[in-house]
């Protein structure tokens, strides 16, 4: 991929990412009462100046619900991304640096978590605990720790035999500083950002999926992109606006986050070359 395409991709995906972050931040400050929004005179309106995304089966403004729907996944997603990245980076660093039983233990634990089918395990947890979205985000984060830890461990192992890292040891830096600053912070940051965007996208997916299924996610009348898409079941093909916009929002957000993380990592690789 050429430099030009890389930058274009970064700008395009970065814009969407920035937009989602912006909406996610301002959304809690926008007053919204789902009960008051119901207006049976305005059912299934196409997009207009008054309702830029149209209205749904109960006459509620779709744009408003798309905006408020970000609250369902935004903070849990950030929380899970931060947690998974932190735990993954640390356990990867420990496994890459340590030897003997500690290394074996960490790698074994990671392998164990990695064999759990993610969505199936989350549904199992839901069945038993009927948890909040934060607990679900926590479980999702834990399920993602192994893949992050593996990437980081390989990197730490590769860098550990590099002369310049040895030079840092020779120079008198503490191993902790070398591991955390010289390796993780300076060399693995783009990789970690990439993994974080992945986890964020996954939490969005899980929230939307559970809300779509209806038993464990966000419950009507509170909006989630998932239960908005689920309106197809009641509409029976009557209107496209109520579910098309949230569906587009889901697809755009997930692909933008994934692309942004990937391209950032690639840009970093090419910069060093």
């Amino acid at each position: 991929m050429g430099d030009k395409h890389l930058r274009a991709g970064l700008i395009a995906s970065g814009t969407v990412v920035a937009l989602v972050l912006l909406v996610g931040i301002i959304s809690p400050f926008v007053p919204y009462d789902p009960a008051e929004a119901v207006n049976y005179d305005q059912q299934l309106q196409p997009p207009s100046m008054a309702h830029i995304f149209g209205t749904d089966g109960q006459g509620r403004d779709v744009a408003m619900r798309v905006l408020k729907g970000t609250e369902a996944f935004f903070l849990p997603g950030l929380f899970a991304a931060a947690l998974a990245t932190l735990l993954g980076a640390l356990s990867g660093a420990v496994a890459g640096y340590a030897e003997g039983w500690l290394r074996t233990g960490v790698i074994g634990t990671m392998q164990l978590i990695d064999t759990l089918p993610r969505l199936v395990y989350i549904i199992l947890v839901c069945t038993i605990l009927n948890p909040s979205i934060y607990l679900i985000a926590f479980v999702a984060a834990i399920l993602f720790v192994p893949s992050i830890a593996t990437v980081i461990r390989r990197r730490v192992e590769a860098l550990g035999s590099e002369d310049y890292i040895l030079a840092h040891v020779a120079h008198g830096f503490r191993p902790v500083r070398i591991l955390l600053y010289h390796i993780l912070w300076l060399q693995c940051r783009p990789m970690l950002i990439r993994q974080a965007t992945y986890v964020f996208g996954y939490v969005l997916f899980v929230e939307v999926a559970l809300s779509y299924l209806g038993d464990y996610g966000m419950q009507e009348p509170l909006p989630s992109w998932g239960n908005m898409v689920a309106q197809t079941r009641e509409l029976g093909g009557a209107g496209i606006w109520p579910w098309a916009f949230p569906a587009v929002a889901i697809v755009l957000t997930i692909s933008a986050f994934l692309a942004f993380g990937n391209l950032l990592a690639r840009a970093d690789e090419e910069e060093v070359r």
């Binding site: 002369d163 310049y164 040895l166 030079a167 120079h171 008198g172 830096f173 010289h182 300076l186 060093v272």
Partner: protein, 339 residues
Amino acid sequence: MSERSDLLSARGLVKRFKSRSLLRGGTTTIALDHVDFDVHPGEVVALIGESGSGKTTLGKVVTRLHSLDEGSVLFEGEDLFAVDRGQLREKRRAFQMVFQNQSANLHPKMSVRQMLDESLRLHRPNLDEDGRRAHADELLERVGLLPRAEQRPASLSGGEKRRAGLARILATKPKLIVADEPTSGLDAAIKLQIIDLLKQLKGEKLTYLLISHDLGLVRRIADRVLVMLKGRIIEEVPAALLGQTQFHHPYTGRLMRAADLARDRRRPPRERRDPPRVTRPDEAEARGGCVYSPDCALAERLGILSRCRKERPPPQVVGENHWIACFGAPSELAEEDDA
């Protein structure tokens, strides 16, 4: 071996590398085979020998970057392999290593100034930010890299990378610098600059352990030369006598001739090979004997080959500060030179 006090003193160093292979079983390579030597304050000791002779391993062992199987390394009288990790880090600032790979001394994501700043933060904790900046400028000035301070390694040339590495090492005010091939991979003009820099620093009471197979560099700045072969030191000779004496170990003579040959014929660097590999006949009787014996014309001529293969020759003094590990020493060596 010396009357003066030693800065660095290595006794009986043994280092083996084991390769693990599940199916074929492990193989062991002996990288250091009972190596003894001393470095006195203020002198430049050069280690020469072909690739694979164990020079770099020795450098990494005396700076405790490798572990050691047997022996001890005393730095200022203290055993480096006996101190705990905290003390070791404290001590590290006194002995620093310049790595062979030009990029190896630098973090690819940090600018030269960032690196120096980080280094000074660690080694001069009582300097404030301005103090560190001023000191970094001074160091950069010394190595002539001030205009390139904000660059990252990727945009530095080979010589500049070396200088940056040296600047960082100087930040710790080391007593001993182990320099592994400090001029390899540089073109002639840059090489001279680096040599001048090293010489200039030598004037500032620095001690070097210089690892190189660049005999030109060694003749220019070294005081004493140790010749390594297959993990053993087989000769110690004053640098001034290098190539000027008749009493070289047969292997050193061969090394000299190979270097001269390469220079005289002005071959392109690609063909300037190290002398052909030595030793086999089963690793000189599984290293009980002299490791050069299978290739040694002198031993054959003197008819002492069977002894050379079975016994390890002890050091034989052949001149002032000059010994060789060879049963053929000293008088017969002259003939070998003519052969």
